[in-house]
Symmetry: C2
Subunit: 806 residues, 2 copies
């Protein structure tokens, strides 16, 4: 790659800037901070999935020594000047439950005390009188007429312009209905030779960041609300907090130290509203930190029921896709409507389908709220459509890889929503993983249970859109000695943003990365950034930093041009020098340029840039838009598995994941991100899920909730970066955080099918399910070949009967 030679820092395997200090335990996380006079808060949680709060008796709790305050929703409602409702899409959640508890674990009161022990002791003494109400847990059931209403009225927030069409409404648990309409699916199905129809489910899951949710709030010496908080969205928290208290944005300060991972769980307002409120009423610093079991009651991954229908001709042309996807968003909308919107409009996958009809329903239930989770809902639909693609290919006797390549979108093709594809790497990714896995077209297999170990290989792919519109702003300061400070609100949560963004600044300013320091988010000084999520930081904040750095470079060039008697356009900034292109000896060091421009030692030059992406307005009846996303993340994965037909156990022998990153800003990071996403999703594929029974999470601890450990990493795990550069990306880069998650699950299911001929439709793929599927298939069909294709089967309405976990 000759082009790489142009760059000094970008594209290099630079060690993480935060690596040494993190492995030596030096960084200070939010939970490490103690302020003089700091209080500890704990939450009193509802034992009911749905209940009216009749009365909160605080008297016994208040008498516990050390208790400073006990606060209920009623107290918040009675505090003048406070807007008690929060939420990024609907303002549907109280700072504490205000009228009803809507899920088991819903906070109904808070206890603040001098010590956590005193607060916990008092928590047990808060007496809450509830009037239990009928509850609903299943998203399909919740859509039916007569289902208990989780919210009587829906109040849209103003935070997201592209959700503005969601008006105030009520009388339903469907808080958002997203539609994609393209062509005429009815007519297309009528002329299809085969129609494949199936339902796939994904269970709720936990993000399980190492660091729990924690916020420390205090009123500073200028009477401002200051929050040290474990959040992925400092700018959002500032807006939200200013809104609660009705103060200007600069009267709220949000500081985010290193984050001990997020995976989407720490977006928007979580503990911040209650922490700020408690600091406001006690006038003391208040820390609130969740226990591990509480973590299971704050936010989850969406449980999804996805029903897909594919119409195919006998020549293998796919003529139509229709889908209905029910998203269990739990008790509060949180960011659920946007998850549904985003995943909804990519639910047709990276394929050239001429006719599409997809309905995605975001449904309130009396479960723990569901929000963003690495992949932002897309893995749940890829699970469905990539299982369907395999099913169809097998039925038609077409190699599933060839089937995908034949239908996959090419550069310039229109996505199902009418957006032309730009910088799309699905096909190269598919080819790379297939090659790496030594892919050969699968042979139909029907292995009876108890046949020992059998092997299978398979591929899958997926596509995800980046959050659009969004904004990243950056300020870059260069000191006279060439050292650089980047002010950015991007949260370093382990993903390596600090290093990648420093590489971009270093490259643009011609200094070694060791001279660049990235300031952690502090809304007093780091300018607006939409969120740190959705793999958007490298592209968006990278562009913002590049733009800001360019302003500094322009100033350096203008000053150097005078001294060097050259045109600014002919100058190069590299290796801490400004010199004339092609005459490297005619140059000045950066300190010399500063001296020429400003004289004094220790001076600074500043650049700033706001990088903004825009989406074309979309038609809410059809989901059509000329530009629904700034760009696409493409991923493809391949696996070889071994199925033990005696036990149902599946072992992944080799797994290859490819992601189209545009350009590797740091190849090492890309590998780690892809591998990390793969491992996380393998856990979710095989054993990681929240078991919810009537709204009660029954495995809310790490004893019972299994996460992948080192022993779960496949013996061969390969990460592959595909680099289809984006014309507007920083040095061509797109992003990589989630691409590795997209297609892991159907890859495994497809490989199991290729190994032994059974298809698993409900995650996670436990040995029990595999074994049961082998036995059931055996019982039903004996030695016959399973009829994979069903011609015009009658539509079935009993989707609710699907094996939905929880």
């Amino acid at each position: 790659m000759a082009i790489d030679l142009e760059y000094s820092v970008v594209g290099k395997r630079v060690p993480r800037l935060d690596g040494l200090k993190k492995v030596t335990g030096r960084p200070i996380y939010t939970g490490d901070i103690e302020l003089p006079g700091m209080l500890h808060a704990v939450l009193v949680r509802s034992p009911h999935p749905h209940a009216r709060i009749v009365r909160v008796d605080k008297r016994r709790a208040e008498r516990v020594p050390g208790v400073v305050a006990v606060v209920s929703g009623a107290d918040i409602l009675n505090t003048p000047g406070i807007d008690p409702w929060v939420g990024p899409v609907f303002k549907d959640q109280g700072i504490l439950a205000l009228d009803k508890a809507r899920h088991i674990g819903d906070p109904v009161a808070a206890v603040v005390a001098e010590s956590r022990e005193a607060a916990e002791e008092a928590r047990e003494l808060v007496e809450v009188e509830y009037e239990p109400l009928p509850a609903v847990f299943d998203p399909v059931e919740a859509c039916k007429p007569g289902a208990p209403l989780v919210h009587e009225v829906l109040r849209p927030s103003r935070a997201f312009a592209d959700m503005a069409h969601v008006g105030e409404t009520g009388g339903t648990n469907v808080c958002y209905h997203q539609k994609v309409r393209k062509g005429d699916v009815e007519a297309a199905f009528a002329r299809a030779d085969y129609i494949f129809e199936d339902t796939f489910t994904s269970p709720p899951a936990q993000h399980a960041p190492l660091e729990p949710h924690v916020t420390l709030a205090y009123i500073d010496d200028d009477d401002r609300i200051t929050l040290w908080t474990a959040t992925q969205s400092p700018s959002f928290v500032r807006v939200s907090t200013a809104g609660i208290f009705g103060v200007p944005l600069n009267r709220v300060r949000v500081i985010v130290p290193y984050l001990g991972a997020g995976y989407g769980s720490k977006l928007y307002a979580k503990l911040e509203p209650i922490a700020a409120y408690l600091a406001y009423v006690t006038r003391r610093p208040v820390r609130i930190m969740l226990s591990r079991s509480e973590e299971f009651h704050i936010i989850t991954k969406h449980q999804v029921v996805a029903r897909y229908k594919l119409g195919v001709t006998k020549h293998g042309d796919i003529v139509a896709v229709e889908a209905q996807n029910w998203w269990n968003t739990g008790a509060y909308a949180e960011i659920g409507p946007r998850v549904v919107h985003k995943s909804g409009y990519t639910s047709a996958g990276p394929y050239k389908f001429p006719n599409v009809k997809i309905d995605s329903y975001c449904v309130y239930t009396n479960n723990v709220p569901a929000g963003a989770f690495r992949g932002f809902g897309v893995p749940q639909v890829v699970w469905a459509y990539e299982s369907m693609m395999d099913t169809a290919a097998h039925a038609l006797g077409i190699d599933p890889l060839e089937f995908r390549l034949r239908h996959a979108l090419d550069e310039g093709d229109e996505f199902a929503t009418g957006t032309p594809m730009l910088s799309i790497g699905v096909k190269p990714a598919l080819r790379k993983v297939a090659e790496a896995i030594d892919y050969t077209p699968p042979q139909p297999k029907r292995v009876p249970p108890g046949s020992g170990r059998v092997r299978g290989k398979a591929v899958a792919c997926g596509v995800k859109a980046v959050l659009t519109p969004s904004i990243s702003s950056a300020v870059v300061e260069m000191n006279a000695d060439g050292s650089v400070t980047v002010l950015s609100s991007t949260v370093e949560m382990g993903q390596g943003s600090e290093t990648a963004l420093a590489q971009i600044a270093a490259e643009e300013l011609g200094v070694p990365i060791t001279k660049v320091r990235v300031h952690l988010p502090d809304t007093d000084v780091t300018p607006y950034d939409t969120i740190t999520a959705g793999s958007r930081s490298t592209y968006h904040m990278g562009n913002a930093i590049r733009g800001a750095a360019k302003q500094i470079r322009d100033q350096l060039f203008a000053a150097a041009a005078e001294v060097l008697e050259a045109n600014p356009e002919d100058l190069v900034l590299r290796d801490e020098r400004v010199y004339v292109r092609g005459a490297e000896e005619r140059g000045l060091t950066i300190p010399q340029v500063f001296a020429a421009k400003l004289g004094a030692l220790g001076t600074t030059l500043v650049g700033e840039h706001v990088f903004k992406t825009i989406a074309d307005p979309l038609d809410h009846e059809t989901g059509q838009s000329k530009k629904s996303t700034e760009f696409w993340f493409s991923g493809a994965t391949a696996a070889e598995v071994e199925v033990d037909t005696d036990t149902g156990q599946v072992q992944v022998l080799k797994f290859v994941a490819a992601a189209d990153v545009g350009r590797e800003v740091n190849p090492h990071h890309c590998e780690q991100q892809i591998a990390g996403a793969t491992i996380l999703t393998l856990g979710l594929t095989f054993f990681e899920w929240m078991n919810v029974e009537q709204g009660q999470v029954t495995n809310a601890s790490f004893l019972e909730y299994q996460l992948p450990s080192l022993k779960d990493v496949p013996p061969q795990l390969e990460s592959v970066s595909v680099t289809v550069p984006h014309p507007d990306g920083p040095f061509g880069a797109k992003g990589v955080g989630e691409s590795g998650t997209l297609s892991v699950q159907p890859t495994i299911a497809n490989a199991i099918y290729n190994a032994c001929g059974v298809r698993i439709r409900d995650l996670p793929i436990t040995p029990e399910k595999v074994l049961r599927a082998l036995h059931e298939r055996d019982r039903e069909h004996g030695a016959e070949v399973e009829p994979p294709a069903v011609q015009q089967p009658p539509a079935t309405e009993n989707v609710g009967a699907t094996d939905v976990p929880g």
Copy 2:
């Protein structure tokens, strides 16, 4: 003033933003901050004015429980990678004394312990063996051949470009010799009818800020050196600290909370080097805070011996001025050479003298170092030249006010150094104070001692140049709700910069001042500013903020112009709206403009600006320069005093001080600054001085060192703002912090002369001196009129015999 109507915030009596919180005791000062594991450091100080350090025995001290480290200069010299020498002009001062102790109180060792008590106990047990050396204390004596050398070699620092001609030298105590040469003084004196010659002295004094010097240093979790410190020059401290440790500038962070006053005492590196070093070696937070008596041993106001010679014709034309000024800069140069340079080139005062020869000597002695002090040395020379002007006027029988007005510089006249005057308010200031005091030309009086109380009125004036070149940089962030954050390294030390700078930002951005917040200095985020000193912040930082705000305004106008279908040039930003000039209804609120430009809530726009002033290079042999200063501060004062000829007691009945502020950004602040400067200088006029005997300060406590209290404020005290706008000042403003100090002292001396006919030449003007002068004059001259003019007296060389305090 019709022009004022244009402004919403500038020119208004806005209450101080820091007022309420300061009077309610809320702000956190450096000394309030405690970090976990923080250690306390105290300094072991030399009892000798000049001595070689032979040996430091730390063993007994180290055994005191709680002591963590005892450090000597030798330890610092043995620490690899440390540059042990600091100093803004010469690198002549060790972090601790490295070879010799050069004044009584010179720190030779430091003790760090878990508590201040333990550190103080151990301090007594550090045994230092000294080899005493001959010492010199008088600045005139120190210039003579054979005087003991305080420094054997002088090492120039690189910090000040305009001092670059000071090369490495040695063998002298004169570390800087500043010259002004204009015309031919020899020839002029030869044709003068009268020559007046006299010597005036000013004693050393203490800044006495309420908050002592204090620094808290620690190594942060990224291995960076962080300093919370009471400094007026955060940017300088960053450069200096980075230099000591040889690290890039962004590996040092300097944070300055509100400062409990400075008056010049907290400039450059004071406790920061030793605090940083101790944190570096102990790897723990270290706080060092001076006791009040130690405050007397860190920095002082320059003692000055000023010998002036004025040649005048019988018509009252001044044909020549010659002066020799000896500045006692003490044991280390500190900023002394710049004080001497700055005061040296203004030593001819605001007058049209055709022939000038001034020599200013910055002289090392074995006293406590002298540095910046409100007025930066100018009051010491105004004391001399304004006494001389009065002497000459009286001798010629000319009204001293008329004499001054006749010779004072007008707009466009050349200053003694060749710089044309721009925006010069001396004459209006003189006229205003004369009017306010109900001035009448004085009649010669000769009142014998014991004649009871007599009254006199007088005026004086002075001029001071602003620090040039210098740089202020600012970043301004505007939030989508119109709230604003200003990032500036200007230190709020009680002078009201926070409010004044916020007014400028508010005016420029069309928002109420309550929506503006000025971030306190933090070198990680607030860009470079030369220093907070010399009354420069309103002009320089004001211009930087104005420039940064203009960048935001331009962005708002560009976005609004599209929506409003107007030209950006036709838009106005006021009252939180952008509207078309002359059509106020065609407008958008600031949030609407943000929405149009960026969409999302809570976004930010950023502007930045570097404001830099330049001086023309000056000829070091003549001091001539086409532009030696960006602008001039002019001040004039008038007083009516009552002298008790029985006791020598002087009472100020009325005092009027006028300063040319250019424009009053905040009239209330201007009044307070002028009055505060007057009161401070009245204290220095009458009773405030450091008594130094053989290098030993004998009144190093507030029991013995008197500061003006409320009872010392004249019964009538009036502040007058003169507003000769500066074309490049923000809204015309210049500055005001020091203008009130300039001419207070000669005004009092002149008024005493007018009251009773005696002239005091040595500050402070104690009752004893007045009474002695009355008696001496009476004894020497009986009832005769004192011969005020001396024709061609022989030059006298025994200036050293002058009554120099200390």
